[in-house]
């Protein structure tokens, strides 16, 4: 692995990513910064991409321009660190402190690597983990970055599958859950999936320190085309996942489910099945009390709510192009859409309030800060 050679294009993208994002000392951090409730990636106007730091009412506190489309956001609450990742198969990441106490860092995955748009901090905030690919070998990787050294890449683990998408450090602080989508992409071929007929998706559990495989649930049989992409964890430690169906639309199975380190995979019996969700879950979230699970289906324009205690669907809301999800309060959720809507609703799909930002299209993910 080469950690010193940085692709010129990556560096350029990353450097430009923070044009206009002024650094200021902690003392200068304004009162407005303390109002920040959410961070989201977004498109502004027709073609300008950015990271938005938002108040609860949806108003923008700060905006950080990006030169290309971002995807998910990792947040380390104790330190206030935020990292944003380029969308698959992008090659830049940017990290900054929510209170602007330190200058932003731009990092790249290194030669012959690309990101899949997701990552997460270690519990102590010293390390950042990202989902990556080795372009030449197709091998899925978990990149490891040293925060104190300016997000320098210091190592890699295997993800034990092709096309790792969302990765999540579990509550035990030592296991990383990986949604291995199974899809092979190469930056030179854009976003084309190259191995749909031979894909082998899985949900893998990897030891964060040693990189050893702890457990793995492979999608086989009728589920072999279910690309596992997004994950979240409930209060009992169970992992809930949302998939993207790559097989025949007429054969779409259920696409939301759960599994544990020592518990077999189980699918949620959603009314209308996976076909009613148009075969695609764009994001997953858990309520702050750890009980309710939310899964967004942007192609269908629905959010599905599941009670993790019973495994039953307890609500389904309608919001066109909804994708970003985050917890709100103890039991509720915030959902964002490609039409600039931020909506708060209960797990029973009752709308609490809604705000619309003009000229903003929220991207796939939304992260709660406050």
């Amino acid at each position: 692995m080469s950690l010193t050679v940085i692709d010129r294009r990556s560096l350029l993208l990353g450097t430009l990513a923070f044009v206009g994002a002024a650094y200021q000392s902690k003392a200068l951090a304004s009162a407005a910064d303390r109002d920040i409730a959410y961070v989201a990636t977004a498109r502004k106007g027709m073609k300008n991409y950015c990271v938005l730091l938002l108040r609860v009412d949806g108003s923008i506190v700060r905006e950080v321009p990006l030169t290309a489309r971002g995807h998910d956001i990792a947040y380390h609450r104790p330190s206030g660190r935020v990292a944003v990742f380029a969308r698959r198969p992008g090659v830049f990441g940017v990290a900054f402190d929510i209170d602007k106490a330190t200058p932003p860092h731009v990092f790249t995955p290194g030669k012959d690597r690309h990101y899949y748009g997701h990552g997460g901090f270690s519990q102590d905030g010293r390390l950042l983990y990202t989902s990556e690919a080795d372009v030449e070998s197709e091998i899925g990787l978990i990149g490891i970055y040293d925060v104190a050294r300016g997000y320098k890449k210091i190592g890699e683990h295997q993800s034990y599958g092709i096309g790792p998408h969302e990765i999540m450090l579990l509550a035990d602080g030592k296991t990383i859950a990986v949604g291995n989508g199974g899809l092979d992409t190469v930056p030179d071929a854009g976003r084309e999936n190259l191995n749909v007929d031979t894909m082998e998706p899985s949900l893998a559990f990897v030891d964060a320190e040693s990189g050893k495989l702890v457990a793995k649930h492979a999608m086989t049989g009728d589920l072999k085309s279910l690309s596992i992409r997004h994950v979240t964890q409930d209060k009992t430690g169970l992992i809930w996942f949302g998939g993207q169906w790559e097989g025949s639309p007429s054969e779409t199975p259920q696409i939301v489910g759960s599994a544990g380190l020592d518990r077999e995979l189980k699918l949620v019996d959603a009314p209308g099945g996976g076909k009613g969700l148009r075969g695609y879950i764009g994001a997953m979230a858990v309520s702050n009390d750890g009980r309710f699970i939310a899964a967004s289906a942007p192609k269908a324009g629905h959010v599905l709510y599941v009670d993790s205690e019973t495994g039953a669907v307890v609500g389904k809301s309608d919001l066109k192009d909804v994708c970003g999800l985050s917890s709100e309060g103890e039991h509720n959720f915030a959902a964002s859409s490609g039409f600039g809507v931020i909506r708060y609703e209960t797990a029973q799909a009752r709308v609490v309030s809604e705000h619309t930002l003009q000229n903003i299209a929220f991207d796939n993910h939304l992260r709660r800060i406050a």
Binding site: R9, K47, H165, P298, G301, F339, A361, N364
Partner: protein, 355 residues
């Protein structure tokens, strides 16, 4: 008259009749938009591909039986016709094309990892005669089932197809591939055109329809296909010329069909753009977009897709690939965020593709 000319003629006749049926400047209803797109664009293009695919097995057979130059020329022509016909529908990535991975089975491209060559070499090494039996190839990887696999066998100068002993198994494979293409294209055609097929599904939206709940959703599907087509052409055909660091072979490069594929892609997209009639929805203060769009199409059509000038270019100067690439992205943005919006057809930012 070749397949492309037939599609063009069919398109012009049907579009003229359809347009005449509507008042001159009235925007079509969403259902009319969908119907026009299906009748004047989708079905004629699929029919053209079916006809082009049907011509492949006899052309392969003639080469394998005679090995004559005439038979080789005929196969080259039929192959080029099938490739360009396919380029006209590559972006219709919904409905019957999505079932059973048919798109990849017909045209496994892009192929940056060289799956086609790698897997075909293994098959040629093993010489399993059972692969020549009806239906056997359908169980193999998509990479060895379609047009790129046939091209690989046609362009291998070391063992050319023909009535020779070394080429015997290659001819078995070439025949199997040609028949497989006919089968898959036939399934696509049937999926669209049979009673109760995808055409009927798109034209009968409603609460009982498991895919399209209303006329808006059917029409949005058409707009999405256009946007995907523009993105695919820009990213896979032009971007490698703009960014020299990208290593991606042009489509059907072994057969020298890069320019034909570009021309067929653009011609098909232009026809779909015209068939959607989205400009009719624009209010007077947005009329400038019509001029911009027409200028953009002239620019896009003025290059040959391989760094040169198109023979039918209408622009006096030859635009660079960079300009055309940027114009395509601009057109995509205008259609997604202005024209479709004016038509009440909102295409979501997140729903356009998964991630």
């Amino acid at each position: 008259m070749n397949a492309t000319m037939k599609v063009l003629l069919s398109f012009l006749i049907t579009l003229t009749l359809t347009t005449a049926a509507m008042s001159a400047n009235a925007p079509p209803s969403h259902l009319e938009l969908t119907r026009t797109a299906i009748d004047t664009h989708i079905i004629p293009h699929i029919d053209a591909l079916k006809s082009a695919a049907d011509a492949l097995p006899p052309a392969v057979e003639a080469v394998c039986k005679t090995g004559s130059e005439e038979a080789r020329r005929t196969l080259d022509e039929k192959f080029a016709a099938a490739v360009t016909a396919y380029a006209g529908i590559d972006f219709l990535r919904f409905g019957p094309m999505l079932e059973n991975g048919r798109r990849e089975q017909i045209s496994f491209w892009p192929d940056p990892r060289g799956f086609v060559a790698r897997q075909l070499r293994m098959i040629l090494l093993n010489k399993d005669a059972k692969l020549g039996e009806p239906g056997a190839l359908a169980k193999q990887s998509a990479a060895v089932q379609g047009l790129p696999a046939l091209e690989f066998l046609m362009r291998d100068s070391e063992v050319p197809l023909g009535p020779t002993e070394p080429a015997q198994f290659r001819c078995v494979m070439a025949q199997a591939i040609a028949h497989n293409i006919v089968r898959v294209v036939g399934e696509v055609s049937d999926g669209w055109e049979k009673p109760g097929g995808w055409k009927d599904k798109m034209l009968s939206p409603g609460p009982d329809n498991d895919t399209y709940r209303n006329e808006n959703e059917s029409a949005v599907e058409i707009v999405k296909a256009f946007l995907i087509g523009i993105s695919l052409t820009a990213d896979l055909q032009l971007k490698p010329q703009v960014d020299t660091k990208i290593r991606l072979s042009p489509p059907y490069n072994k057969s020298g069909l890069q320019k034909q594929v570009y021309a067929a892609s653009i011609a098909s997209l232009r026809q779909l753009y015209d068939a959607m009639h989205l400009e009719a929805y624009l209010k007077p203060d947005m009329a400038w977009m019509k001029g911009w769009s027409q200028g953009t199409w002239r620019t896009i059509e003025s290059i040959d897709g391989a760094g040169g000038r198109a023979s039918h270019a209408q622009r006096k100067d030859t635009p660079t690939s960079r300009e055309v690439f940027d114009r395509m992205n601009g057109l995509r943005n205008i259609v997604a965020n202005r024209l479709a919006t004016a038509a009440g057809l909102t295409v979501g930012f997140n729903e356009l593709d998964g991630d």
